[in-house]
Amino acid sequence: MQLALSEDQTQVLDFIDTLARPYASVPMHDASLVLESADLDAALVESGFLDVMAVEELGPVTAALVVEKLARLPFAIEAAASVMVRPLIDLALPRPLCLVEEGRIGGPVRFLRPGASVVVVGPSGVRSFMADAGIIAAAQVDTLYAYPAAFLTGLPDCMTSHDVDAAEVLRAWRVAVAAEAAGLLAAALAATVAYVSDRKQFGRPLATFQGMRHRLAEDQVMTNSVHWLALRAAGTGSRGDAALALLHAQEAAKQVCYDYHQFLGGMGMTLEHPLHLWTYRLKLLTAELGGRGEQGLAASDALWG
């Protein structure tokens, strides 16, 4: 057991901080439901941070730390799947990488666009194809989720099969989403804490009311433990740990998304405050891989048979 960051890990996280600094805050009053930056994406690819998993001395825990860190940015970046799942399948698959479950392809697919790699995971194994316009249906223009997303209209007849255990891919997918959720939770908490510490009603900051303090503290406890469970799942590579990590992340997301919008009052309903950029990504992640119940069943299978 050794839970302190290694020197390499500290360095990677510091580099990312420097690289992402221009993107750390949002252009206020930019009435946008989702923020993306091609420049940031290109810089990340260039820097090699999306490939840390394959570097021997870095590996999966560092990969999870990178995913967590990037998720804190207001910009949606396709990092989780590329950083943590792609190395198991084929490092040459072009980004963005879209993961879908066989038999459950009807939901909004994050980052789906022409040219994206779609990986279908399920009982038939792990297969992929490159999406083209013919197989994509756009989501509603003012979709609330703060990810770019679209729908698949079906699957192509011809897909590339990958020689990798679907259960392993599912495991890595769960960890990747848990790590992303950990970053989103941390950023949403920080934004909410800043707001309620500043905003005054009844002559005092909102954050001085215990009704709010206790819920924020509970949200901190959940946020902290999602962080650790995601890192642990990355480190142990255990299927049970992966399912527990995502289960806990999805539980936490449900709890905090409600609290934070509540605590911002009317401001929480606007696009003026960036909160929704984190919470509405979290909300979509609560549906990932079938939601909490499915993670619960997967964890239960892994722990108790």
Binding site: M1, Q2, L3, A4, L5, S6, Q9, V61, L189, V193, V196, S197, R204, P205, A207, T208, F209, Q210, R213, H214, L216, A217, E218, Q220, V221, M222, N224, S225, V226, W228, L229, L231, R232, G235, T236, D241, A243, L244, A245, L247, H248, E251, R292, G293, Q295, G296, L297, A299, S300, L303, W304
Partner: protein
């Protein structure tokens, strides 16, 4: 970062497990239903701790100059986990090795060290902690039990409550008021429990016989040399003691073990196939593991010699959530466990329900997280 135990840590855990297996025989599990402060378990622990001492696993985490092996915080954690999962066969003596010994070593007079440390190392002493009072629970600094210095003796008058182990303890680590200066007016006195003027009354409870007590002090007179530290130094010393015991008991390990037992019972009755039961069990496991990792993150800070702050409150609260979930799971899905079908699960329940009250309540942990982790502006006083 490394989430697996090292081979040495695994070996240490197995050494303890092997010892427990060899020494907790027969109907230990039924026996452990007696609370940690019960006469039965206290008597058992007086023999058991001697064996632990002989095997070198009573206080291996103490520094070498105190007779320990100087093992690190991870080993201390592993030791505590294994004892707690087993139903805490050390009874109240766990306090001795966790914080009373180290605190005596740091703040005790030579005479106090000579008198009290040796019986602890032999597994032969039982302490109680006289902090809480009827009107000073969460607001501990409101305590009123008076100690007045008269002709070289302290005369103590007042009342303590919820005092664990008081019924059988040899000595009380007592907080008294020696001046009206709130925190700075509190002084520790080490009081032999057989001193005339002390009355102990057991409080009937949900958590097993002998656990909690009222303790009355009527003109209890002890020599001035029984004072521990200086007058007014109690708050500082207690803060030091808590630093040794910040995370408290590793309750999440017993909660997880209890959950596994409950699942095994359900499987044995072919009742674990239903999805809602499986999902709820997984939710409980996630909370137990969440508590474990949050606690381990704090242990790491001890390993690195960093000061531990409010993050230990976050870990404590995560533990309370885990205990609550598992207690509720058992009641909902294996209610028979608490009515005779599983001594182990009853033992867990009785220890689990106090997690959010004993040693600083859950709400107080939330207050600390709000102020010191989230750094929210302070509440008006």
């Amino acid at each position: 970062m490394q989430f697996e135990w090292t081979p040495e840590q695994d070996a240490f855990r197995h050494k303890i497990r092997d010892f427990l297996e060899a020494n907790l025989t027969g109907d230990w599990e039924k026996f452990s239903e007696h609370g940690p402060a019960s006469p039965a378990l206290t008597a058992f622990a007086r023999e058991f701790c001697v064996k632990l001492a002989e095997a070198g696993i009573l206080f291996p985490h103490w520094p070498v100059e105190m007779g320990g092996e100087g093992l690190g915080p991870w080993e201390q954690q592993i030791l505590a986990e294994e004892m707690w999962i087993a139903g805490e066969p050390r009874g109240g003596q766990y306090m001795n090795v966790n914080w009373i010994g180290p605190t005596l070593q740091k703040y005790g007079t030579p005479e106090q060290k000579a008198r009290y440390l040796e019986p602890i190392t032999r597994g032969q002493s039982l302490w109680c902690q006289g902090f809480s009072e009827p009107d000073a629970g969460s607001d501990l600094a409101a305590l009123r039990t008076r100690a007045e210095l008269r002709d070289g003796s302290y005369v103590i008058n007042g009342q303590k409550i919820w005092t664990s182990y008081a019924g059988l303890a040899d000595t009380c680590f007592l907080l008294t008021r020696t001046s009206d200066d709130r925190k700075k007016g509190i002084t520790i006195i080490l009081v032999p429990m057989d001193t005339p003027g002390i009355t102990v009354r057991q409080i009937p409870s949900l958590i097993g016989e002998g656990d909690i007590h009222e303790v009355f002090f009527d003109d209890v007179t002890v020599p001035e040399t029984a004072r521990f530290g200086d007058e007014g130094q109690a708050w500082e010393i207690v803060a030091y003691s808590l630093r040794n015991e910040r995370l408290g008991i590793p309750r999440f390990t017993l909660a997880r073990a209890a959950l596994d037992r409950a699942v095994a019972m359900l499987q044995g009755e072919s009742r674990f196939a239903r999805e809602h039961v499986r999902i709820e069990a997984a939710r409980c496991a996630a909370l137990c593991e969440a508590a474990a990792t949050a606690n381990y993150a704090v242990v790491q800070k001890r390993v690195d010699g960093l000061s531990i702050g409010a993050e230990s409150s976050s870990a404590r609260y995560a533990t309370v959530m885990a205990e609550r979930a598992v207690c509720e799971f058992v009641v909902e899905f294996v209610p028979q466990a608490l009515a005779g079908a599983s001594p182990y699960l009853k033992m867990h329940h009785q220890r689990g329900i106090v997690a959010g009250v004993a040693a600083g309540s859950a709400e107080i942990q939330l207050n600390i997280i709000a102020s010191d982790v989230l750094e929210l502006p302070r509440e008006p006083r």
